[in-house]
C-alpha cells in the first residue's frame, strides 16, 4: 500500500478514536486503559514477522523476545479487563 493510502486510514482512525473514546463512560476509564493496552500489543504482528524471517539470527531473537512481551500484554491486558468488568454490577431490586 502506498503511503498516502495508509496515512488516510490513520487520519480517519484518529477521528474514529476521538469520538469512540469520548463516548466511553468515565466509570470505565480504568478498563479502557487496560484494554487499549491489550490491543496496542497488536504490534505482535511485527514481532511474528521478525521471528519467522530467515536471514538474520539477531533479528529473529529480537522478534521472539517481542512476541513474549506482546503476549504478556495481550493475555494480561484482556484478562485483567475481563476481571474488572465482571465486578461492575447493577443495583439488585
Amino acid at each position: 500500500m502506498d503511503f498516502i493510502a495508509i496515512f488516510s486510514i490513520f487520519v480517519l482512525a484518529c477521528f474514529v478514536g476521538y469520538f469512540v473514546v469520548w463516548s466511553v463512560t468515565p466509570a470505565l476509564h480504568t478498563p479502557l486503559m487496560s484494554v487499549t493496552n491489550a490491543i496496542s500489543s497488536v504490534i505482535i504482528v511485527g514481532a511474528l514477522i521478525a521471528s519467522a524471517a530467515a536471514g538474520s539470527a539477531s533479528s529473529k531473537w529480537l522478534g521472539l523476545a517481542a512476541v513474549v512481551m506482546a503476549s504478556i500484554n495481550i493475555f494480561g491486558g484482556f484478562a485483567v479487563t475481563e476481571r474488572m468488568l465482571a465486578m461492575y454490577k447493577k443495583k439488585e431490586r
Binding site: M1, I6, F10, A13, V16, G17, V20, V21, W22, V24, T25, P26, A27, T30, P31, M33, V35, T36, N37, A38, I39, S40, S41, V42, I43, I44, G46, A47, L48, A50, S51, A52, A53, A54, G55, S56, S58, S59, K60, L62, G63, A65, A66, V67, V68, M69, S71, I74, F75, G76, F78, A79, V80, R83, M84, L85, A86, M87, K89, K90
Partner: protein, 494 residues
C-alpha cells in the same frame, strides 16, 4: 499445511499484500473499534472485551499463516513455528498470572508495567526490522531501506523507547520503589529540549545515512529522554503521566503499522493514541493544570509545601465519634459518600459498602460522588468501589451529582481532601485554584474522616471545610472508622 506456501508467496510486504490478509487485518481493526465502543456502558462492556480478543486472534492467526517460518526448500519450518508458539505460551502464562494476582489498588502500576512492555516490544520490532529489512519488505535488493520506512522506523523506535523508560519510572514511582517526590535536575529543560532536538535531527539524518550508529544513538537517546521526562513529575500528577504513556504506546504501534503497511496496527495505534490523549486531557482539566505544566514537572514538591506551611494557624474544629456519625446518618434522608484514594490505601471500601448497606436498610438514600482524580489513574475509584460490590448505578461523576449536595443531609468524606477544598473556587493564590471540586460544603452536615488534623492533601493546602460549623471531623483510620460506624448502626436496634 498445503495452502501455506501459496499464502507465503503472496505476502511479500508493501509490494504484494495478500488481499485476504489485508481484509483480515481490517476486520481485526474494526473489532478493536467495537471493543472500545462497548465501554460506553458497563452492560455492553464485556461483549466489547470479547470483540477485542476476537480481533487479536484474527490478527495473530493471519500473520502466522502469511508469515510462517519457512525452511530453505520452501516448506514450513516446524521448529521455528514451535519456537513462536512457545514464546506466545510463555507470555500467556505470565500475563494471565499477573492479571489474576494483581490487587485492584495496584492497577496503576500494572498498567504502567504493561505500557513499558508495549514500548520495549516496539523497540525490539523496530530493531529487528532494521537488522533484517528485506523480511519486512521495506528495503530494495541491495539492502537500502526505503526513505519513508526510515522515518517511520526512526519514529517507531524513538516513541517505543520513550514509552519504555518513561513507564518504568512511572511504575517505580507508583509502586513505591522510588519516591513520588519530583526529582529536579538543574537545567533540565535545556537538557530535555536538547535531547529531543538531537533525536529529531538524527531521525532526519537517518534518511540519508542508514549506518548503525545513527539508529542505535536514536535508540539510546530516546531511552534517556523517557527517563528524564518522568523523573521531575510528582506523585499527584501520575494519573496524567499514565494516560500520556498510554497514548505513546498507541503512537508507537501506529508507527510500526506504517512500517509494515498493516491496517490493524494503524487503526489500533490511532485508537489507543487518541484514547490516551483524551484521558490525559480529562485528568488535566480535573486538576485545572495545563498539559505543559504537568510535563514541566515539579508539582507536589517543596514549593507547594513551603507555601502552605508558612501561614498555618490554629482554628477551632469539631471532633466527632463513630456513634455520632452513625446517629446523624441514620436520621438522614440523603447521604452522599465522597471517597478518595486514602480510602483505598486504608482498604476501607468493603467496610464503607457495609455501612452504606446498613443505611439503606434504614431507608436512607445513599449515593457516591467521584471526582475524576480521586484515584491514581482515570476511573480507578470506580473500579475499587465495583470490587467492593457497590452497584455502579449508585456511583456518580462530579458533573452529575454536584448539584445534589445542597439537598443532601450528610456528605461523608472518606480519604479525600483536595477535591472538596473550596479554596479552589475562592482563593486565587491557592495552588489548586480553578480545579473543579465536589461542593460538600453545601450539605447540611459534613462528616470528614481523616487520619489526623496535621496532614494535608497532595497539594499541601489547608481545607476550610474542616473548620465549618456543620462539619464534624472523624479522626482515625478510615477502615476502623467505617467498621465502628457499621457496629454503631447495627447496634442501634432500628
Amino acid at each position: 499445511m498445503d495452502f501455506q506456501p501459496i499464502l507465503a508467496a503472496a505476502a511479500g510486504g508493501h509490494g504484494a499484500v495478500n488481499p485476504w490478509a489485508a481484509i483480515a487485518y481490517l476486520v481485526s481493526g474494526i473489532l478493536f473499534i467495537l471493543a472500545l465502543r462497548g465501554l460506553s456502558s458497563p452492560a455492553s462492556s464485556r461483549r466489547g472485551n470479547r470483540y477485542g480478543m476476537a480481533g487479536m486472534t484474527i490478527a495473530v492467526v493471519t500473520t502466522l499463516l502469511t508469515h510462517a517460518p519457512v525452511t530453505v526448500d520452501g516448506g514450513v519450518d516446524s521448529i521455528g513455528l514451535v519456537e513462536i508458539l512457545v514464546a506466545i505460551g510463555i507470555g500467556a502464562v505470565i500475563g494471565i498470572v499477573m492479571a489474576r494476582k494483581i490487587a485492584m489498588t495496584a492497577m496503576p502500576q500494572l498498567v504502567a508495567a504493561f505500557h513499558s512492555l508495549v514500548g520495549l516490544a516496539a523497540v525490539a520490532v523496530a530493531a529487528a526490522a532494521y537488522l533484517n529489512p528485506q523480511a519486512f519488505g521495506i528495503a530494495d535488493a541491495a539492502g537500502q531501506i526505503f526513505t519513508v520506512s526510515r522515518v517511520e522506523m526512526g519514529l517507531g523506535i524513538a516513541i517505543g523507547a520513550i514509552t519504555f523508560s518513561g513507564s518504568v519510572i512511572a511504575f517505580l514511582k507508583l509502586n513505591g520503589n522510588m519516591s513520588g517526590a519530583p526529582i529536579m535536575l538543574p537545567g533540565r529543560h535545556v537538557i530535555n529540549l536538547g535531547t529531543l532536538a538531537a533525536i529529531i535531527g538524527l531521525v532526519a539524518y537517518f534518511t540519508f545515512d542508514q549506518s548503525p550508529w545513527v539508529f542505535w544513538t536514536v535508540t539510546g537517546l530516546s531511552f534517556l529522554i523517557g527517563f528524564l521526562l518522568i523523573i521531575p513529575i510528582g506523585g499527584a500528577d501520575m494519573p496524567v503521566v499514565v494516560s500520556m504513556l498510554n497514548s505513546y504506546s498507541g503512537w508507537a504501534a501506529a508507527a510500526m503499522g506504517f512500517t509494515l503497511g498493516n491496517t490493524a496496527m494503524i487503526i489500533t495505534g490511532a485508537l489507543v493514541g487518541s484514547s490516551g490523549a483524551i484521558l490525559s486531557y480529562i485528568m488535566c482539566r480535573a486538576m485545572n493544570r495545563s498539559f505543559i505544566s504537568v510535563i514541566a514537572g515539579g508539582f507536589g514538591g517543596d514549593d507547594a509545601a513551603a507555601g502552605a506551611g508558612g501561614t498555618k494557624e490554629q482554628r477551632p474544629w469539631k471532633p466527632g465519634s463513630a456513634d455520632d456519625a452513625a446517629f446523624l446518618m441514620s436520621q438522614a434522608e440523603n447521604v452522599i459518600i465522597v471517597p478518595g484514594y486514602g480510602m483505598a490505601v486504608a482498604q476501607a471500601q468493603h467496610a464503607l459498602r457495609e455501612m452504606a448497606d446498613q443505611l439503606k436498610k434504614e431507608g436512607v438514600n445513599v449515593k457516591y460522588a467521584i471526582h475524576p482524580v480521586a484515584g491514581r489513574m482515570p476511573g480507578h475509584m470506580n473500579v475499587l468501589l465495583a470490587e467492593a460490590n457497590v452497584p455502579y448505578d449508585e456511583v456518580f461523576e462530579l458533573e452529575d451529582i454536584n448539584g445534589e449536595f445542597a439537598q443532601a443531609d450528610v456528605a461523608f468524606v472518606i480519604g479525600a481532601n483536595d477535591v472538596t477544598n473550596p479554596a479552589a473556587k475562592t482563593d486565587k493564590t491557592s495552588p489548586i485554584y480553578g480545579m473543579p471540586i465536589l461542593d460538600v460544603a453545601n450539605a447540611k452536615t459534613v462528616l470528614f474522616v481523616k487520619r489526623s488534623m496535621g496532614g494535608v492533601g497532595y497539594a499541601g493546602v489547608d481545607n476550610d471545610v474542616f473548620y465549618m460549623d456543620q462539619t464534624m471531623m472523624l479522626l482515625g483510620d478510615a477502615k476502623k472508622m467505617a467498621d465502628d460506624i457499621v457496629k454503631a448502626l447495627s447496634g442501634s436496634g432500628h
